[in-house]
Amino acid sequence: MIGWRLFVNPIELGVNHVWLVLPLCAVLAVVYKTIRVPHLRQLPLQVLTLWAYILLGLAGLGVAFFLLLEYVA
């Protein structure tokens, strides 16, 4: 048995890995808006808005698929 090392052995996250979608969407929003905004002063508000849109969109998709599976399929 070799010792656990960061960047070599995986981290056991269990069911909590679903929360990793929050930083993933945040970085996606930051990178996209860093490229797109004409002036950097607008960046924080634009990032927060896009992050909220992505999360709401994903949540909406989740609810839609749940309803589809529960009541239609």
């Binding site: 048995m1 995986p10 970085v27 930051v30 990178v31 860093t34 002036h39």
Partner: protein, 169 residues
């Protein structure tokens, strides 16, 4: 400003293309975000998150992160060679069927030797590192386009546009 140089710099170090074009703050933000996302993925999934034999499409996306992707690939190769030398593991094989068979045999050999080094059990790690590569691809494209259009430096602040006679020149 050379579009090719901007593209190569943007690939090699995420954000470097924007720094080259005089957009240093944007370049630093891109560098921090893309590298943090990539290395978080590798930290979560372990060294075999970067896997060129059996995960070719994820691997292609990961290599868009430039130096980070190459460093992770080099590290994966070294660790795999060390494990292969210490246990009775098969040599890697190319192709979809050969790669899948090799991964199965290699994993079995690792489990038989009771090594605490498993493949990622889910795709979270690969999603992180792969999305980092895709985001850098977007940054590379932006840097190349800005260099091609000759747009160097940050645009002037709102309300401080150059006078019409200068804009017409």
């Amino acid at each position: 400003m050379l579009p090719l140089l901007a593209g190569v710099l943007a690939w090699l170090i995420p954000g470097a293309g924007h720094v080259y074009l005089g957009r240093a703050v944007r370049g630093v933000i891109l560098c921090l975000c893309i590298n943090a996302l990539f290395w978080t993925g590798v930290a979560v999934g372990g060294v075999f998150t970067v896997e060129p034999v059996t995960q070719r499409w994820w691997f292609a996306a990961q290599m868009c992160t430039g130096a980070s992707g190459l460093a992770a690939w080099y590290r994966q190769d070294r660790v795999r060679d060390r494990i292969s030398a210490s246990i009775d593991a098969p040599a890697p094989r190319r192709g979809r069927a050969g790669g899948a068979a090799w991964q199965r045999e290699f994993t079995e050999a690792v489990i038989q030797d009771n090594l605490d080094l498993n493949y990622p059990s889910d795709t979270v790690a690969r999603a992180y590192s792969g999305v980092a590569g895709m985001l850098n691809l977007m940054a590379i494209f932006d840097a190349v386009m800005l260099a091609g259009l000759g747009r160097v430096g940050e645009p002037p602040p709102q309300g401080k546009q150059p006078p019409p006679e200068e804009r017409e020149k």
